[in-house]
């Protein structure tokens, strides 16, 4: 790893100045030069070379190494959401490629800094990751490599059981159970003051009865545990599972890193789209000289290329930002535009309001992929980008284009983006059957969960919870309860279809 060359430094300054002039406001960004196996190493660690030891980073490394050696893939750039922002440049890249990457990174760095969904991420994550590494290494020394690794594997198997939205909502955290809590006096229905003969009318008995029922329900609910179903399964386990202190810490590390990486998953299309929009704009308008433009076009089109049948987030994101800019420049929004059904008029539509630039900055501030696609993916756009839904055809045993209907395309896309493409799972009861067993529930929508794997996950949850665990789900149209009691797996039908 080494500092960037003076020549590149000059270019970085120039590109950064142009980016700021265009309205971007990136973190201070530091570039380092690495060769390809260093790049692969850093990338395997998810960008953090100081991370805790774990075999899956080695697995990632092998696949990146082989991918590079055999020309399947090459990591051009790697950028870390941190303040200051760190980015890695591949030594073997040409100067033109480096400039392009620097411009691209400016987009990412600005996005990290200003997109709402990143606002809760730790901007000193490089230090934090190093701390995690130190702590885990200490546990490894104390308790043995295999013991810690086995527990880690169990935790990693649950890493997607978090509530990625919880950090953004000011909902109050449930207080932890406290034995010294003062018992509150039982609540009674509140009566309005009235004279005796009017009481029957001012406080009608039906009303009092309804009030009492409500209170009873509230009391009952309080006895439930957790009070409301909890999507942050990891948090629930952290607070209530009977874990050793080191185990609790390992679990909390996995959870914390999960929350740190979650926004990158939630804004993949936007983030890449934003960076691509800006590298293309800066390079073509400000940075490239005449002799470079052909090579830039070649590189750029390689990044934007669509393999048949695959959705390229760089491409879709960039085109969507361009589309939004164009629409807001020409006033193609608002009620008049929406209600206009005359195709010819729509095609000509231009009010010259010129709000495009302002609009895309607003969009990069407050949207994530789900809301971005939901709000801005228009039918015209879907047609222009040739989007389709594909499905597996069991008769021909291959993936086939199934539909080009706009609504279906959008629905399908949103479905895969929702909850980062994972099944939605809550903790429903931490004292199931009054025996301290754990009941989870899967909110079933269209798709079943993978049965064999779900069994293994239950086993891993059991490892943490140390009492029998259950999950309610639907399998092939039947409501099922899957259980693991520490020795045996068990599935039973709760309600037939």
């Amino acid at each position: 790893m080494q500092q960037i060359t003076r020549e590149l430094q000059t270019w970085q300054n120039k590109i950064e100045a142009e980016a700021r002039a265009a309205g971007l406001d990136p973190f201070e960004t530091r570039f380092e030069m690495v060769d390809w196996d260093e790049m692969n190493e850093v990338a395997s660690f998810g960008g953090f070379p100081t991370r805790y030891p774990h075999w899956r980073f080695g697995m990632e490394f092998e696949s990146l190494q082989k991918g590079y050696t055999f020309g399947l893939q090459k990591i051009y750039e790697l950028v870390i959401n941190n303040d200051p922002c760190y980015a890695y440049l591949l030594k073997s890249n040409s100067l033109l490629e480096q400039k392009m990457v620097v411009a691209h990174v400016m987009g990412h760095s600005d996005f990290f800094r200003h997109n709402l969904w990143f606002s809760h991420t730790n901007r000193r994550m490089i230090d934090e990751m190093a701390n995690h590494g130190t702590r885990i290494r200490r546990y490894v020394e104390r308790h043995g490599e295999t013991v810690v690794e086995e527990f880690m594997d169990a935790c990693l198997s649950l890493e997607n059981l978090v509530d990625v939205h919880s950090v953004y909502s000011p909902q109050k955290r449930r207080p932890r159970f406290d034995v010294m809590e003062v018992e509150e006096p039982a609540e009674t229905p509140k009566k309005l003051k009235s004279k005796g003969y009017m009481d029957r009318f001012v406080n009608p008995p039906e009303f009092l009865e309804a009030q009492r029922k409500k209170i009873d329900q509230a009391v009952k609910k309080k006895k439930q545990f957790p009070e409301h179903k909890e999507k942050d399964v990891l948090l629930f386990l952290l607070e209530y599972a009977p874990l050793e202190p080191w185990q609790r810490d390992v679990l909390s590390i996995v959870r914390e890193e999960g929350y740190y990486f979650a926004p990158q998953g939630m804004t993949k299309i936007m983030n890449e789209g934003w960076a691509s929009y800006w590298h293309s704009k800066l390079m073509t308008e400000k940075i490239c000289n005449d002799s470079e433009i052909v090579d830039f076009a070649d590189n750029h089109s390689a990044t934007m290329g669509m393999r048949p049948g695959q959705l390229n987030p760089y491409k879709i994101g960039m085109e969507l930002f361009r589309d939004i800019e164009e629409r807001w420049n020409r006033g193609r929004f608002g009620r008049d535009w929406e209600s206009c059904t005359d195709l010819a008029e729509r095609r000509r539509w231009n009010t010259n309001v010129g709000k495009g630039r302002q609009k895309i900055f607003e969009v990069r501030r407050i949207y994530n992929d789900v809301t971005f696609i939901d709000e801005y993916l228009t039918e015209e756009f879907a047609v222009a980008q040739k989007l389709f839904v594909y499905r597996f055809n069991a008769q021909t045993n291959r993936q086939e284009i199934a539909d080009r209907d706009f609504k279906k395309v959008k629905q399908e896309l949103l479905f895969h983006l929702t909850n980062l493409g994972s099944p939605i799972i809550h903790v429903v009861d931490g004292n199931y059957q009054n025996r301290g067993e754990l009941l989870l529930s899967h909110t079933h929508d269209q798709l079943d969960i993978e049965l064999a794997e779900a069994r293994d996950v239950l086993r891993n949850i059991h490892r943490v919870w140390q009492r029998p665990v259950h999950i309610e789900t639907h399998l092939e149209g039947e409501k099922k309860l899957m259980s693991f009691d520490g020795e045996k797996h068990h599935e039973r039908t709760v309600a037939p279809a």
Binding site: F61, G309, Q310, L311, R398, E400, L413, D448
Partner: protein, 367 residues
């Protein structure tokens, strides 16, 4: 430089090899040893260990893609479309890479820590080997690099102002053209003969033959990487032996008794007739389930090995495939007779998983 990743990488390799954390083995996606086999490339899976998650199951086989085509058009083979986010998590798919046989041999060598073979005899013809490594401005038309030439021509036309976006016709001049260039590497020239013998008596089932097929493929690949010229001969035997071609070798179904000596005698004959041991490095491999017809024949085999075959060969390998019917006696007889003789290696192959170890047994001596 010792890299940080080495520790995690080493640990991962150990898990994959089944040395530690055996409970994780069931999550390893490995697939078949040989994937699709093209002309000179094979696709091999990169091992991945899948950490189990709650995830959508088999009916999650739809997504959004981009491109041309009517409803019903299949997506391209081997390129499942992916919804956004898919493919982000490692271990989502079985990764496959296409590698040349040469690469494959190198990987096999690394994987099994095989030493390079020290050929015997006088070698010494030096032969040339070409590799395309660079780009040059001159060369024969057959080596023209289309894309590089196109880009040069495009740049020139843009610079001269003769490029018309509405009629993007690019006509390369001679100065635009770029050609692949090559470098010559000298390698010593050695010859080798691989002689495969397989027992096809009734007790060898399809599964056993499949194991032999896979193992033979890897041995071929390795030896090919070590020798410039390789001859391969195939012999099958039950109670009598005969020479066959490759296809027959793997597909023949015979039954009947087993007389191993018949194969050894035939092998000896072929060597005598066609391959001078001073010119050739000779590797006989014999696969059987270990059943032989009586100790009389076994004695005959040992005799042939002692007096005829072993003095001529670099290495004689005997692989015993486990089958439901075989007694496995033959390996015991060989081991007893030869003890620690370095010229002969015996190995027992229990199942497909055992192939790796068996290949290592055979080739680790570097002879």
């Amino acid at each position: 430089m010792v890299k940080k990743i080495e520790r995690d990488f080493g640990r991962f390799r150990q898990i994959v090899r089944g040395k530690i954390r055996k409970e994780l083995r069931k999550y390893i996606t490995k697939g078949e040893f040989i994937g699709r086999q093209g002309k000179s490339v094979v696709s091999i899976p990169i091992p991945q260990i899948r950490i189990p998650h709650f995830r959508f199951g088999k009916n999650d086989q739809s997504g959004v893609g981009q491109g041309d085509g009517d409803v019903g058009t299949p997506l391209q083979e081997g390129q499942p479309g992916s919804g956004p986010g898919a493919g982000e998590a490692p271990g989502e798919h079985i990764l496959e890479v296409e590698v040349s046989l040469e690469e494959l041999a190198r990987m096999l060598g690394d994987e099994l820590e095989l030493p390079r073979i020290q050929p015997k005899g006088k070698s010494t013809v030096i032969s040339d080997k070409e590799r395309y490594t660079g780009i040059s401005r001159v060369g024969p038309e057959s080596l023209r690099h289309f894309k590089r030439s196109y880009i040069e021509a495009l740049k020139r036309q843009l610079a001269l102002g003769v490029y018309d976006p509405d009629d993007p016709l690019i006509i390369p001049w001679r100065e635009d053209k770029r050609y692949r260039s090559w470098r010559v590497k000298e390698i010593p020239h050695q010859n080798a003969l691989i002689m495969y013998m397989m027992d096809v008596s009734g007790s060898m089932g399809d599964e056993q033959k499949e194991i032999v097929r896979i193992e033979a493929f890897w041995i071929d690949t390795w030896l090919r990487s070590q020798y410039k010229k390789i001859d391969i001969r195939y012999v099958v035997h039950d109670a009598a032996a005969r020479e066959v071609d490759q296809h027959t070798f793997y597909h023949v179904k015979e039954c009947g008794g087993t007389k191993i000596s018949s194969a050894y005698a035939l092998c000896n004959e072929i060597i005598k007739r066609d391959y001078d041991p001073y010119e050739w490095n000779i590797y006989p491999f014999h696969f059987s389930d270990g059943d032989n017809w009586g100790s009389e024949d076994t004695r005959h085999c040992l005799n042939l090995l002692d007096n005829e075959l072993l003095p001529k060969c670099n290495l004689f390998c005997y692989g015993q495939v486990k089958s439901a019917y075989g007694s496995g006696q033959f390996k015991r007889d060989l081991d007893e007779h030869f003890g620690k003789d370095e010229r002969i290696i015996t190995s027992e192959i229990r199942d497909k998983e055992g192939i790796y170890d068996s290949i290592r047994d055979f080739l680790k001596k570097g002879k």
